[in-house]
Protein backbone atom coordinates (compact mmCIF):
# COMPACT_ATOMS: atom_id res chain seq x y z
CA UNK A 1 0.00 0.00 0.00
CA UNK A 2 2.06 2.87 -1.27
CA UNK A 3 -0.34 5.60 -0.12
CA UNK A 4 0.09 4.44 3.46
CA UNK A 5 3.83 4.91 3.12
CA UNK A 6 3.06 8.38 1.82
CA UNK A 7 0.91 9.11 4.87
CA UNK A 8 3.58 7.69 7.12
CA UNK A 9 6.26 9.90 5.53
CA UNK A 10 4.10 13.01 5.88
CA UNK A 11 3.35 12.16 9.50
CA UNK A 12 6.99 11.39 10.22
CA UNK A 13 8.02 14.79 8.88
CA UNK A 14 5.58 16.60 11.16
CA UNK A 15 6.64 14.62 14.20
CA UNK A 16 10.34 15.14 13.57
CA UNK A 17 9.89 18.87 13.14
CA UNK A 18 7.72 19.01 16.27
CA UNK A 19 10.33 17.18 18.32
CA UNK A 20 13.03 19.53 17.07
CA UNK A 21 11.10 22.67 17.84
CA UNK A 22 10.71 22.11 21.55
CA UNK A 23 9.68 25.71 22.04
CA UNK A 24 6.39 24.81 20.33
CA UNK A 25 5.40 22.50 23.16
CA UNK A 26 6.56 24.84 25.91
CA UNK A 27 4.61 27.81 24.56
CA UNK A 28 1.51 25.74 23.93
CA UNK A 29 1.44 24.57 27.54
CA UNK A 30 2.28 27.89 29.11
CA UNK A 31 -1.10 29.60 28.54
CA UNK A 32 -3.23 26.70 29.82
CA UNK A 33 -1.01 26.64 32.93
CA UNK A 34 -1.78 30.29 33.59
CA UNK A 35 -5.50 29.52 33.32
CA UNK A 36 -5.35 26.58 35.67
CA UNK A 37 -2.97 27.88 38.31
CA UNK A 38 -3.59 31.63 38.24
CA UNK A 39 -7.16 32.09 37.05
CA UNK A 40 -8.42 28.77 38.42
CA UNK A 41 -6.36 28.96 41.60
CA UNK A 42 -7.31 32.60 42.19
CA UNK A 43 -11.04 32.17 41.77
CA UNK A 44 -10.89 28.72 43.31
CA UNK A 45 -9.93 30.16 46.67
CA UNK A 46 -13.47 31.56 47.04
CA UNK A 47 -15.61 29.96 44.31
CA UNK A 48 -17.12 26.51 44.19
CA UNK A 49 -19.32 25.04 41.44
CA UNK A 50 -21.43 21.94 42.07
CA UNK A 51 -19.43 21.20 45.17
CA UNK A 52 -16.18 21.29 43.25
CA UNK A 53 -13.35 23.74 43.67
CA UNK A 54 -13.44 26.14 40.69
CA UNK A 55 -9.90 25.19 39.72
CA UNK A 56 -10.91 21.55 39.44
CA UNK A 57 -14.15 22.49 37.73
CA UNK A 58 -12.49 24.33 34.84
CA UNK A 59 -9.67 21.81 34.44
CA UNK A 60 -11.47 19.72 31.75
CA UNK A 61 -12.35 22.92 29.90
CA UNK A 62 -8.71 24.06 29.92
CA UNK A 63 -7.68 20.65 28.58
CA UNK A 64 -10.05 21.17 25.67
CA UNK A 65 -8.76 24.71 25.25
CA UNK A 66 -5.13 23.63 24.98
CA UNK A 67 -6.04 21.12 22.29
CA UNK A 68 -8.27 23.68 20.55
CA UNK A 69 -5.48 26.23 20.28
CA UNK A 70 -2.67 23.92 19.27
CA UNK A 71 -4.82 22.03 16.78
CA UNK A 72 -6.23 24.99 14.90
CA UNK A 73 -2.91 26.82 14.91
CA UNK A 74 -1.25 23.77 13.40
CA UNK A 75 -2.82 24.97 10.15
CA UNK A 76 -0.43 27.92 10.04
CA UNK A 77 2.49 25.60 9.31
CA UNK A 78 1.05 24.71 5.94
CA UNK A 79 0.95 28.42 5.12
CA UNK A 80 4.61 28.69 6.13
CA UNK A 81 5.48 25.54 4.19
CA UNK A 82 4.02 27.14 1.12
CA UNK A 83 5.71 30.46 1.77
CA UNK A 84 9.18 28.96 2.19
CA UNK A 85 8.49 26.68 -0.79
CA UNK A 86 8.80 23.28 0.84
CA UNK A 87 5.15 22.41 0.20
CA UNK A 88 5.84 22.19 -3.56
CA UNK A 89 7.92 19.06 -3.13
CA UNK A 90 4.91 17.31 -1.60
CA UNK A 91 2.39 18.74 -4.05
CA UNK A 92 4.28 17.50 -7.13
CA UNK A 93 4.92 14.05 -5.68
CA UNK A 94 2.71 11.27 -7.04
CA UNK A 95 0.50 11.45 -3.95
CA UNK A 96 -3.22 12.10 -3.95
CA UNK A 97 -4.38 15.21 -2.17
CA UNK A 98 -6.36 13.03 0.18
CA UNK A 99 -3.16 11.25 1.18
CA UNK A 100 -1.47 14.58 1.84
CA UNK A 101 -4.40 15.75 3.93
CA UNK A 102 -4.52 12.58 6.01
CA UNK A 103 -0.78 12.72 6.64
CA UNK A 104 -0.94 16.35 7.74
CA UNK A 105 -3.97 15.74 9.98
CA UNK A 106 -2.33 12.81 11.70
CA UNK A 107 0.84 14.85 12.17
CA UNK A 108 -1.13 17.68 13.77
CA UNK A 109 -3.11 15.30 15.96
CA UNK A 110 0.09 13.72 17.21
CA UNK A 111 1.43 17.13 18.22
CA UNK A 112 -1.81 17.88 20.06
CA UNK A 113 -1.86 14.49 21.76
CA UNK A 114 1.66 14.88 23.11
CA UNK A 115 0.55 18.15 24.57
CA UNK A 116 -2.68 16.63 25.89
CA UNK A 117 -0.69 13.97 27.77
CA UNK A 118 1.43 16.61 29.46
CA UNK A 119 -1.73 18.54 30.36
CA UNK A 120 -3.41 15.42 31.73
CA UNK A 121 -0.43 14.72 33.96
CA UNK A 122 -0.69 18.26 35.26
CA UNK A 123 -3.91 17.24 37.01
CA UNK A 124 -1.71 15.94 39.80
CA UNK A 125 -0.57 19.50 40.38
CA UNK A 126 -4.10 20.52 41.42
CA UNK A 127 -4.67 17.42 43.53
CA UNK A 128 -6.92 15.69 41.02
CA UNK A 129 -6.42 11.96 40.50
CA UNK A 130 -7.52 10.59 37.12
CA UNK A 131 -7.73 6.78 37.07
CA UNK A 132 -6.09 5.04 34.07
CA UNK A 133 -9.41 4.17 32.40
CA UNK A 134 -10.63 7.77 32.61
CA UNK A 135 -7.22 8.96 31.43
CA UNK A 136 -7.50 6.86 28.26
CA UNK A 137 -11.12 7.86 27.71
CA UNK A 138 -10.20 11.54 28.08
CA UNK A 139 -7.35 11.07 25.63
CA UNK A 140 -9.73 9.52 23.07
CA UNK A 141 -12.15 12.42 23.44
CA UNK A 142 -9.29 14.86 22.99
CA UNK A 143 -8.17 12.95 19.91
CA UNK A 144 -11.62 13.26 18.37
CA UNK A 145 -11.57 16.97 19.14
CA UNK A 146 -8.06 17.35 17.71
CA UNK A 147 -9.08 15.51 14.54
CA UNK A 148 -11.83 18.03 13.79
CA UNK A 149 -9.87 21.09 14.84
CA UNK A 150 -6.63 20.19 13.02
CA UNK A 151 -8.77 19.63 9.92
CA UNK A 152 -10.35 23.04 10.47
CA UNK A 153 -6.95 24.69 10.81
CA UNK A 154 -5.69 22.98 7.67
CA UNK A 155 -8.76 24.06 5.71
CA UNK A 156 -8.10 27.67 6.67
CA UNK A 157 -4.37 27.20 6.01
CA UNK A 158 -5.03 25.81 2.54
CA UNK A 159 -6.98 28.94 1.64
CA UNK A 160 -4.58 31.52 3.07
CA UNK A 161 -1.59 33.00 1.33
CA UNK A 162 0.05 34.65 4.33
CA UNK A 163 0.57 33.64 7.96
CA UNK A 164 -0.78 37.03 9.03
CA UNK A 165 -4.05 36.38 7.22
CA UNK A 166 -4.26 33.00 8.87
CA UNK A 167 -3.72 34.41 12.35
CA UNK A 168 -6.39 37.05 11.85
CA UNK A 169 -9.05 34.59 10.68
CA UNK A 170 -8.14 32.16 13.40
CA UNK A 171 -8.36 34.66 16.26
CA UNK A 172 -11.89 35.43 15.20
CA UNK A 173 -12.67 31.75 15.32
CA UNK A 174 -10.63 30.25 18.13
CA UNK A 175 -11.52 32.67 20.91
CA UNK A 176 -15.29 32.44 20.34
CA UNK A 177 -15.03 28.65 20.13
CA UNK A 178 -13.26 28.70 23.49
CA UNK A 179 -15.42 31.23 25.35
CA UNK A 180 -18.74 29.82 24.13
CA UNK A 181 -17.76 26.25 24.95
CA UNK A 182 -18.59 26.64 28.61
CA UNK A 183 -15.02 25.78 29.49
CA UNK A 184 -15.13 28.38 32.27
CA UNK A 185 -18.74 28.18 33.48
CA UNK A 186 -21.61 25.72 33.87
CA UNK A 187 -24.22 25.67 31.10
CA UNK A 188 -27.22 25.91 33.39
CA UNK A 189 -29.27 29.09 33.96
CA UNK A 190 -27.65 30.96 31.09
CA UNK A 191 -29.45 33.75 29.24
CA UNK A 192 -31.16 32.38 26.16
CA UNK A 193 -28.79 33.94 23.59
CA UNK A 194 -25.74 32.62 25.40
CA UNK A 195 -27.06 29.12 25.88
CA UNK A 196 -28.10 29.00 22.20
CA UNK A 197 -24.59 29.87 21.08
CA UNK A 198 -23.00 27.40 23.49
CA UNK A 199 -25.22 24.65 22.09
CA UNK A 200 -24.06 25.48 18.56
CA UNK A 201 -20.37 25.50 19.49
CA UNK A 202 -19.07 21.96 18.86
CA UNK A 203 -16.28 22.40 21.40
CA UNK A 204 -19.01 22.56 24.11
CA UNK A 205 -19.58 18.84 23.62
CA UNK A 206 -15.89 18.11 23.97
CA UNK A 207 -15.73 20.04 27.24
CA UNK A 208 -18.87 18.29 28.48
CA UNK A 209 -17.53 14.84 27.60
CA UNK A 210 -14.25 15.58 29.37
CA UNK A 211 -16.11 16.79 32.46
CA UNK A 212 -18.14 13.59 32.45
CA UNK A 213 -15.12 11.31 32.45
CA UNK A 214 -12.78 13.39 34.62
CA UNK A 215 -14.92 15.03 37.30
CA UNK A 216 -18.26 13.28 36.85
CA UNK A 217 -20.27 16.42 36.05
CA UNK A 218 -22.25 16.67 32.82
CA UNK A 219 -24.93 18.53 30.91
CA UNK A 220 -25.55 16.01 28.14
CA UNK A 221 -25.33 12.22 28.10
CA UNK A 222 -21.89 11.03 27.00
CA UNK A 223 -23.19 9.34 23.85
CA UNK A 224 -24.66 12.66 22.64
CA UNK A 225 -21.28 14.34 23.19
CA UNK A 226 -19.49 11.60 21.26
CA UNK A 227 -22.02 11.67 18.43
CA UNK A 228 -21.72 15.43 18.00
CA UNK A 229 -17.91 15.29 18.16
CA UNK A 230 -17.83 12.40 15.71
CA UNK A 231 -20.13 14.21 13.30
CA UNK A 232 -18.05 17.37 13.61
CA UNK A 233 -14.84 15.45 12.95
CA UNK A 234 -16.32 13.65 9.96
CA UNK A 235 -17.62 16.81 8.33
CA UNK A 236 -14.38 18.75 8.91
CA UNK A 237 -12.42 15.84 7.52
CA UNK A 238 -14.60 15.70 4.40
CA UNK A 239 -14.43 19.44 3.81
CA UNK A 240 -10.68 19.33 4.40
CA UNK A 241 -10.11 16.64 1.79
CA UNK A 242 -12.08 18.75 -0.64
CA UNK A 243 -10.18 21.92 0.27
CA UNK A 244 -6.87 20.17 -0.38
CA UNK A 245 -8.04 19.12 -3.84
CA UNK A 246 -8.27 22.78 -4.76
CA UNK A 247 -5.15 23.96 -2.99
CA UNK A 248 -2.44 25.36 -5.22
Amino acid sequence: MSWMEGVYALWLREVKVFMRERSRIVTSIFTPMLWIFVFGGGLGSTVEIKGLNYQVYIYPGILAMSVLFSSVFFGVYIVWDRKIDILKEVLVAPLSRRTIFIGKVLGGCTDSMVQACVMLLMSLGIGLYIPPAAFLLALSILFLLALSLVSMGLIIGSLMESPEGFNMIVSFLVFPLFFFSGALFPLENLPLWLSTVTYIDPVTYGVDALRTVIIGVSQFPLYIDILVLGGFALSMFTVGTEAFQHMR
Binding site: E5, G6, R20, I86, L91, V92, L95
Partner: protein
Amino acid sequence: MEYAIETFNLTKRFKNITAVDEINIKIRRGEIFGLLGPNGAGKTTTISMLCTILKPTEGTATVNGYDILREPDDVRRSIGIVFQQPSVDDMLTGRENLYLHALWYGVPKSIREKRIDEVLKLVGLESRQHSLVKTYSGGMRRRLEIARGLLHLPKVLFLDEPTLGLDPQTRENIWEYVEGMPKKHDVTIVLTTHYMDEAERLCDRIAIIDQGRIIVSDTPERLKEKVGGDIVCLKMENPDPERFKGICGVTKIDVMGGRVIITLRNSSENLKALLDAAGKVEGVEIRPSSLNDVFLSYTGKDIRQESGEGGIAHRIMRERVAR
Protein backbone atom coordinates in the same frame (compact mmCIF):
# COMPACT_ATOMS: atom_id res chain seq x y z
CA MET B 1 8.38 6.69 -28.24
CA GLU B 2 11.19 8.70 -29.69
CA TYR B 3 10.57 11.85 -27.72
CA ALA B 4 10.85 12.32 -23.98
CA ILE B 5 8.70 15.42 -24.23
CA GLU B 6 6.44 16.70 -26.94
CA THR B 7 4.24 19.77 -26.60
CA PHE B 8 1.24 20.63 -28.73
CA ASN B 9 0.35 24.32 -28.86
CA LEU B 10 0.98 24.54 -25.13
CA THR B 11 -0.47 27.81 -23.87
CA LYS B 12 -0.93 29.47 -20.50
CA ARG B 13 -2.75 32.71 -19.93
CA PHE B 14 -3.00 34.52 -16.60
CA LYS B 15 -5.90 36.93 -16.79
CA ASN B 16 -4.83 39.13 -19.69
CA ILE B 17 -1.19 38.09 -19.84
CA THR B 18 -0.14 35.28 -22.11
CA ALA B 19 2.80 33.73 -20.30
CA VAL B 20 3.27 30.84 -22.69
CA ASP B 21 2.03 31.18 -26.23
CA GLU B 22 1.40 28.07 -28.35
CA ILE B 23 4.70 26.39 -27.71
CA ASN B 24 5.62 23.33 -29.77
CA ILE B 25 8.81 21.56 -28.79
CA LYS B 26 10.09 18.06 -29.20
CA ILE B 27 12.76 16.87 -26.80
CA ARG B 28 14.62 13.66 -27.65
CA ARG B 29 15.43 10.97 -25.14
CA GLY B 30 18.82 11.32 -23.53
CA GLU B 31 19.49 14.90 -24.52
CA ILE B 32 20.05 17.97 -22.43
CA PHE B 33 17.59 20.51 -23.68
CA GLY B 34 17.77 24.14 -22.66
CA LEU B 35 15.05 26.74 -22.48
CA LEU B 36 16.98 29.97 -22.71
CA GLY B 37 15.40 33.35 -22.22
CA PRO B 38 15.26 36.41 -20.03
CA ASN B 39 13.46 36.38 -16.69
CA GLY B 40 9.74 36.37 -17.26
CA ALA B 41 9.98 34.84 -20.72
CA GLY B 42 7.75 31.95 -19.68
CA LYS B 43 10.36 29.30 -18.91
CA THR B 44 9.19 28.41 -15.42
CA THR B 45 5.55 28.52 -16.49
CA THR B 46 6.33 26.04 -19.27
CA ILE B 47 8.12 23.72 -16.87
CA SER B 48 5.32 24.01 -14.31
CA MET B 49 2.84 22.83 -16.91
CA LEU B 50 5.06 19.94 -17.94
CA CYS B 51 5.35 18.95 -14.26
CA THR B 52 1.54 19.11 -13.90
CA ILE B 53 1.75 21.87 -11.28
CA LEU B 54 -0.12 24.26 -13.56
CA LYS B 55 -2.90 23.39 -15.97
CA PRO B 56 -2.44 24.75 -19.48
CA THR B 57 -5.10 27.13 -20.75
CA GLU B 58 -4.89 25.49 -24.16
CA GLY B 59 -2.95 22.71 -25.78
CA THR B 60 -1.26 19.80 -24.07
CA ALA B 61 1.98 17.87 -23.90
CA THR B 62 3.33 14.40 -23.31
CA VAL B 63 6.10 13.62 -20.87
CA ASN B 64 7.68 10.18 -21.08
CA GLY B 65 4.76 9.26 -23.30
CA TYR B 66 2.11 10.27 -20.76
CA ASP B 67 -0.35 13.08 -21.34
CA ILE B 68 -0.02 15.85 -18.78
CA LEU B 69 -3.78 16.38 -18.65
CA ARG B 70 -5.04 12.82 -18.71
CA GLU B 71 -2.24 10.97 -16.89
CA PRO B 72 -0.76 13.42 -14.39
CA ASP B 73 0.13 10.69 -11.87
CA ASP B 74 2.17 8.76 -14.42
CA VAL B 75 3.84 11.99 -15.46
CA ARG B 76 4.75 12.74 -11.85
CA ARG B 77 6.24 9.33 -11.33
CA SER B 78 8.38 9.79 -14.45
CA ILE B 79 9.92 13.11 -13.54
CA GLY B 80 12.31 14.68 -11.09
CA ILE B 81 12.30 18.40 -10.43
CA VAL B 82 14.91 20.76 -9.10
CA PHE B 83 13.09 23.96 -8.35
CA GLN B 84 14.35 27.48 -8.78
CA GLN B 85 13.58 28.18 -5.13
CA PRO B 86 15.15 25.44 -3.00
CA SER B 87 12.41 23.24 -1.58
CA VAL B 88 14.40 21.02 0.75
CA ASP B 89 13.21 20.99 4.34
CA ASP B 90 15.40 23.03 6.69
CA MET B 91 14.26 21.24 9.81
CA LEU B 92 15.29 17.82 8.55
CA THR B 93 18.71 16.39 7.82
CA GLY B 94 19.86 15.82 4.26
CA ARG B 95 19.32 12.11 4.58
CA GLU B 96 15.86 12.51 6.08
CA ASN B 97 14.85 14.71 3.17
CA LEU B 98 15.89 11.96 0.80
CA TYR B 99 14.23 9.23 2.85
CA LEU B 100 10.85 11.01 2.83
CA HIS B 101 11.18 11.63 -0.89
CA ALA B 102 11.82 7.92 -1.44
CA LEU B 103 8.61 7.10 0.44
CA TRP B 104 6.58 9.69 -1.45
CA TYR B 105 7.77 8.41 -4.80
CA GLY B 106 7.32 4.77 -3.90
CA VAL B 107 10.98 3.74 -4.18
CA PRO B 108 10.86 0.04 -3.19
CA LYS B 109 12.03 -0.67 0.32
CA SER B 110 14.69 -3.13 -0.85
CA ILE B 111 16.66 -0.50 -2.76
CA ARG B 112 15.74 2.60 -0.73
CA GLU B 113 18.82 2.87 1.48
CA LYS B 114 21.12 1.90 -1.38
CA ARG B 115 19.68 4.58 -3.67
CA ILE B 116 20.00 7.21 -0.95
CA ASP B 117 23.66 6.28 -0.44
CA GLU B 118 24.23 6.43 -4.19
CA VAL B 119 22.77 9.87 -4.74
CA LEU B 120 24.46 11.27 -1.63
CA LYS B 121 27.76 10.05 -3.00
CA LEU B 122 26.99 11.46 -6.43
CA VAL B 123 26.61 14.99 -5.10
CA GLY B 124 29.30 14.62 -2.45
CA LEU B 125 27.14 15.17 0.60
CA GLU B 126 27.88 11.91 2.44
CA SER B 127 29.82 13.59 5.20
CA ARG B 128 27.01 16.09 5.91
CA GLN B 129 24.05 13.77 5.45
CA HIS B 130 23.15 13.78 9.13
CA SER B 131 23.29 17.56 9.58
CA LEU B 132 20.13 19.65 9.48
CA VAL B 133 19.67 21.30 6.10
CA LYS B 134 19.48 24.70 7.75
CA THR B 135 23.23 24.43 8.34
CA TYR B 136 23.88 23.86 4.61
CA SER B 137 25.26 26.45 2.21
CA GLY B 138 23.30 27.47 -0.88
CA GLY B 139 25.37 25.19 -3.07
CA MET B 140 24.88 22.22 -0.77
CA ARG B 141 21.13 22.74 -0.78
CA ARG B 142 21.10 22.79 -4.55
CA ARG B 143 23.15 19.62 -4.64
CA LEU B 144 20.77 17.97 -2.20
CA GLU B 145 17.88 18.99 -4.45
CA ILE B 146 19.61 17.46 -7.43
CA ALA B 147 20.24 14.27 -5.45
CA ARG B 148 16.59 14.21 -4.50
CA GLY B 149 15.52 14.80 -8.09
CA LEU B 150 17.49 11.74 -9.19
CA LEU B 151 16.60 9.49 -6.27
CA HIS B 152 13.58 7.77 -7.79
CA LEU B 153 15.32 7.19 -11.15
CA PRO B 154 13.19 9.60 -13.15
CA LYS B 155 13.07 9.46 -16.93
CA VAL B 156 13.03 13.22 -17.22
CA LEU B 157 14.76 15.65 -14.88
CA PHE B 158 13.72 19.28 -14.86
CA LEU B 159 16.26 21.79 -13.65
CA ASP B 160 14.79 25.26 -13.22
CA GLU B 161 17.66 27.77 -13.14
CA PRO B 162 19.91 25.22 -11.43
CA THR B 163 22.76 27.60 -10.70
CA LEU B 164 20.89 30.82 -10.00
CA GLY B 165 22.70 32.81 -7.36
CA LEU B 166 25.51 30.31 -6.82
CA ASP B 167 29.21 31.11 -6.69
CA PRO B 168 31.37 30.23 -9.74
CA GLN B 169 32.97 27.20 -8.19
CA THR B 170 29.68 25.65 -7.14
CA ARG B 171 28.27 26.35 -10.60
CA GLU B 172 31.20 24.52 -12.13
CA ASN B 173 30.61 21.53 -9.82
CA ILE B 174 26.95 21.37 -10.67
CA TRP B 175 27.68 21.64 -14.37
CA GLU B 176 30.00 18.69 -14.07
CA TYR B 177 27.31 16.55 -12.45
CA VAL B 178 24.69 17.58 -14.96
CA GLU B 179 26.86 16.97 -18.02
CA GLY B 180 27.39 13.32 -17.26
CA MET B 181 23.87 12.59 -16.12
CA PRO B 182 22.08 11.55 -19.34
CA LYS B 183 24.55 8.76 -20.02
CA LYS B 184 25.06 7.64 -16.44
CA HIS B 185 21.43 7.69 -15.38
CA ASP B 186 19.54 7.20 -18.62
CA VAL B 187 17.68 10.43 -18.10
CA THR B 188 16.59 13.32 -20.28
CA ILE B 189 17.32 16.75 -18.86
CA VAL B 190 15.32 19.89 -19.45
CA LEU B 191 16.87 22.97 -17.96
CA THR B 192 15.91 26.60 -17.96
CA THR B 193 18.45 29.31 -17.64
CA HIS B 194 19.10 32.87 -18.51
CA TYR B 195 22.84 32.32 -18.34
CA MET B 196 24.26 32.07 -21.83
CA ASP B 197 27.41 30.28 -20.75
CA GLU B 198 25.37 27.67 -18.91
CA ALA B 199 23.21 26.92 -21.93
CA GLU B 200 26.23 26.80 -24.21
CA ARG B 201 28.19 24.55 -21.94
CA LEU B 202 25.50 22.02 -21.10
CA CYS B 203 22.84 21.84 -23.74
CA ASP B 204 22.68 19.60 -26.77
CA ARG B 205 19.84 21.71 -28.10
CA ILE B 206 18.42 25.04 -27.09
CA ALA B 207 15.12 26.77 -27.59
CA ILE B 208 15.28 30.52 -27.24
CA ILE B 209 12.13 31.77 -25.62
CA ASP B 210 10.97 35.35 -25.33
CA GLN B 211 7.59 36.70 -24.27
CA GLY B 212 6.11 33.24 -24.18
CA ARG B 213 7.11 32.25 -27.69
CA ILE B 214 9.83 29.96 -28.98
CA ILE B 215 11.84 32.15 -31.29
CA VAL B 216 14.30 29.62 -32.57
CA SER B 217 15.45 26.17 -31.61
CA ASP B 218 18.63 24.33 -32.61
CA THR B 219 22.02 23.19 -31.37
CA PRO B 220 24.15 25.96 -29.83
CA GLU B 221 26.67 25.65 -32.67
CA ARG B 222 24.13 26.04 -35.43
CA LEU B 223 22.39 28.86 -33.61
CA LYS B 224 25.66 30.71 -33.50
CA GLU B 225 26.31 30.01 -37.16
CA LYS B 226 23.01 31.65 -37.90
CA VAL B 227 24.32 34.87 -36.45
CA GLY B 228 26.65 34.95 -39.41
CA GLY B 229 30.21 34.82 -38.16
CA ASP B 230 32.50 36.20 -35.51
CA ILE B 231 32.13 39.51 -33.80
CA VAL B 232 34.79 42.12 -34.49
CA CYS B 233 34.73 45.16 -32.28
CA LEU B 234 36.80 48.15 -33.39
CA LYS B 235 37.45 51.09 -31.13
CA MET B 236 38.15 54.14 -33.21
CA GLU B 237 38.05 57.90 -33.07
CA ASN B 238 35.75 58.37 -35.97
CA PRO B 239 33.42 55.36 -36.18
CA ASP B 240 32.06 55.54 -39.68
CA PRO B 241 30.12 52.45 -40.76
CA GLU B 242 30.19 53.42 -44.43
CA ARG B 243 33.77 52.44 -45.01
CA PHE B 244 33.13 48.80 -44.07
CA LYS B 245 30.37 48.27 -46.53
CA GLY B 246 31.13 45.87 -49.32
CA ILE B 247 34.04 44.18 -47.60
CA CYS B 248 34.02 40.46 -48.16
CA GLY B 249 32.41 38.53 -45.27
CA VAL B 250 30.76 41.45 -43.46
CA THR B 251 27.17 40.60 -42.69
CA LYS B 252 26.21 43.26 -40.17
CA ILE B 253 27.52 46.59 -38.97
CA ASP B 254 26.48 48.38 -35.79
CA VAL B 255 27.82 51.49 -34.17
CA MET B 256 27.70 51.71 -30.39
CA GLY B 257 29.39 54.62 -28.66
CA GLY B 258 32.93 54.92 -29.99
CA ARG B 259 32.89 51.44 -31.43
CA VAL B 260 31.98 49.72 -34.62
CA ILE B 261 30.70 46.21 -34.10
CA ILE B 262 30.94 44.07 -37.20
CA THR B 263 29.72 40.57 -37.77
CA LEU B 264 32.28 38.91 -39.96
CA ARG B 265 32.07 35.60 -41.73
CA ASN B 266 35.27 33.59 -42.22
CA SER B 267 37.18 35.99 -40.02
CA SER B 268 40.60 34.33 -40.47
CA GLU B 269 40.56 35.21 -44.16
CA ASN B 270 38.62 38.42 -44.17
CA LEU B 271 40.00 40.20 -41.12
CA LYS B 272 42.94 41.76 -42.96
CA ALA B 273 40.78 43.47 -45.54
CA LEU B 274 38.59 44.76 -42.78
CA LEU B 275 41.49 46.21 -40.80
CA ASP B 276 42.94 47.78 -43.93
CA ALA B 277 39.64 49.53 -44.53
CA ALA B 278 39.47 50.68 -40.95
CA GLY B 279 42.77 52.55 -41.07
CA LYS B 280 43.78 53.87 -37.68
CA VAL B 281 42.14 52.09 -34.77
CA GLU B 282 42.62 52.42 -31.01
CA GLY B 283 41.70 48.87 -30.20
CA VAL B 284 40.57 45.64 -31.79
CA GLU B 285 38.61 42.90 -30.12
CA ILE B 286 37.55 39.77 -31.89
CA ARG B 287 35.48 36.99 -30.40
CA PRO B 288 33.37 34.13 -31.63
CA SER B 289 29.66 34.91 -31.60
CA SER B 290 27.84 33.88 -28.44
CA LEU B 291 24.29 32.91 -27.70
CA ASN B 292 23.76 36.45 -26.54
CA ASP B 293 24.42 37.58 -30.09
CA VAL B 294 21.90 35.01 -31.23
CA PHE B 295 19.35 36.35 -28.81
CA LEU B 296 20.19 39.89 -29.86
CA SER B 297 19.83 39.14 -33.54
CA TYR B 298 16.45 37.43 -33.11
CA THR B 299 14.81 39.77 -30.62
CA GLY B 300 16.73 42.98 -31.06
CA LYS B 301 17.30 42.96 -27.31
CA ASP B 302 20.19 42.09 -25.09
CA ILE B 303 19.24 39.19 -22.84
CA ARG B 304 21.16 40.67 -19.93
CA GLN B 305 19.34 43.98 -20.13
CA GLU B 306 16.07 42.11 -20.22
CA SER B 307 16.98 40.04 -17.21
CA GLY B 308 17.16 43.02 -14.96
CA GLU B 309 13.67 44.24 -15.66
CA GLY B 310 11.58 41.27 -14.70
CA GLY B 311 9.00 40.46 -17.29
CA ILE B 312 5.90 38.35 -17.12
CA ALA B 313 6.69 36.63 -13.86
CA HIS B 314 7.11 40.02 -12.29
CA ARG B 315 3.83 41.27 -13.69
CA ILE B 316 2.04 38.14 -12.56
CA MET B 317 3.46 38.48 -9.08
CA ARG B 318 2.13 41.99 -8.90
CA GLU B 319 -1.26 40.81 -10.05
CA ARG B 320 -1.28 38.14 -7.38
CA VAL B 321 -0.49 40.64 -4.70
CA ALA B 322 -3.24 42.89 -5.97
CA ARG B 323 -5.84 40.15 -5.81
